[in-house]
């Protein structure tokens, strides 16, 4: 007995070391073999609450990265939407096996607004394309909410965009319900309101109606949301409606935008030139 006790006393450091080491190894083996490690795991109350605080803090550092991922996802969804919105039409009209090239004609690119103006009369935005794109003029720019403007000039990845808040452009737009179309112009007053003019008298307009881009342009695909009707009046002499439209896009606060490019634009433009002659 005496000897055992003296042995233990002599090697107490080593014994404690190996004892604890065995526990640690056992825990490690346990963690490696069973996925539910009950004793040492991050799901108990204390560690759970600390880890959730940690996640709150750390998330901030990854906002940018997360944002980029979401942008990509949105882009894909938008492209998918644009390529499929003609499907119903395709199904109920004459459809030929080989003319699929004309559908899914739009490509979407991520872009970022780097400067913006909305307080002037002639407003422009600077947009930086976030991925490789062969910029041309007359590309449509849309925000997640609705239209933003049209590319006027470009250099490398940067594009100067005429904002919808600029009286110098008119965008083909239509009433979502009746498909009567007119031109969208800005009167230079309120950055949240534009005018849809030249809508024929025969159209039925009501306050709250949605306005979207029309199909008569090569810049925007048909059906991109623009805004809704807040008031309208009929010009009796000319027989056209003048409709005030509240924009869905808050032009004072646009950050992430998409550039929309029509793949077959050159071909179509050439064809249209041909018909003019």
């Amino acid at each position: 007995m005496q000897q055992i006790i003296s042995f233990i006393l002599k090697f107490k450091t080593a014994l404690v070391f190996w004892g604890l080491f065995a526990i640690a190894i056992a825990l490690t083996i346990n963690a490696n073999t069973h996925h539910q490690n009950k004793w040492v795991s991050s799901t108990n109350l204390l560690s759970r609450s600390i880890l959730s605080v940690k996640a709150d803090v750390v998330d901030y550092f990854y906002l940018k990265e997360e944002n980029a991922k979401l942008l990509d996802e949105n882009k894909e969804l938008r492209e998918f939407y644009l390529s499929h919105q003609n499907d119903s039409q395709k199904n109920d009209s004459l459809y030929f096996e080989n003319n699929t090239g004309l559908d899914s004609t739009y490509q979407v690119f991520n872009a970022k607004v780097i400067s913006n103006s909305y307080w002037k009369i002639n407003n422009f935005l600077m947009v930086e394309a976030l991925e490789k794109i062969d910029l041309t003029t007359d590309l449509g720019i849309i925000s997640p909410q609705g239209i933003v403007g049209i590319v006027e000039d470009y250099n490398a990845q940067y594009a100067r965009v005429i904002s919808v808040l600029n009286p110098n452009i008119s965008i083909n737009a239509q009433l979502a319900n009746t498909k009567h179309f007119g031109s969208l112009v800005w009167d230079g007053k309120d950055p949240s309101i534009t005018n849809l003019i030249d809508v024929p008298r025969s159209a039925s307009v009501a306050i709250g109606d949605h306005v979207e881009t029309g199909g008569n342009s090569l810049i925007f695909p048909e059906g991109i949301p623009i805004g809704n009707v807040i008031s309208f009046d009929l010009d009796e002499n000319r027989g056209y409606y003048n409709i005030q439209v509240k924009l869905f896009t808050d032009m004072t606060n646009v950050r992430n935008v998409y550039i929309i490019q029509m793949k077959d634009k050159e071909v179509i433009e050439k064809l249209m030139e041909g018909t003019d002659e």
Binding site: T28, S42, S47, I50, V58
Partner: protein
């Protein structure tokens, strides 16, 4: 008494520091410093070795709880605690035996040796147990080397920041 409060604060502080800041560094994708063993480095020399091992085990275990890593850090810390007298004797020489050394008074070289031995042991044990297979010998050694260098640098910086001001 004052000393033990000081040490308890250090314990909590280093665990939180590791979790909130250092675990997010992931330099070049995998190089991560582990500097919480400063707690073990700075435990009083006169402290009983069994106590040191118990505290170290607890320290490692609390890191493990957050990393979901079983007993990896606990084992590594325990090994560090066990080899602490050995490291001290190698670094500070004969003075250690008289328990008269003060970490900061001995100059830079002994401190560097002390920290390097301890970090080396800690990282080697930790990465070995983390991989838990001899298949990954190369990975274990390279992680130990790269993370080790990173940790040693950071630990030395922190040690000099913690240096008590002379009166």
């Amino acid at each position: 008494m004052n000393k033990s409060i000081n040490n308890s604060i250090r314990f909590v502080l280093f665990v939180l520091l590791q979790l909130f800041i250092l675990d997010n560094i992931m330099f070049l994708g995998y190089i991560n410093p582990y500097i919480y063993i400063i707690f073990i480095l700075l435990l009083p020399i006169s402290m009983n070795s069994i106590q040191i091992m118990l505290f170290s085990f607890l320290l490692g275990l609390s890191i493990d709880v957050f990393h979901n890593s079983g007993g990896v850090h606990a084992a590594a810390c325990l090994a560090v605690a066990y080899f602490r007298p050995f490291a001290l004797r190698n670094a500070f020489g004969i003075n250690f035996d008289f328990k008269t050394i003060k970490f900061y008074d001995e100059g830079f070289k002994p401190l560097l040796i002390y920290v390097s031995i301890m970090v080396g042991i800690h990282h080697l044990v930790m990465f070995s147990l983390e991989a838990f297979s001899l298949k990954y010998v190369y990975r274990i050694l390279s992680y130990t080397l790269y993370s080790g260098i990173f940790s040693i640098l950071l630990i030395l910086i922190v040690l000099y920041l913690l240096k008590p001001t002379k009166k």
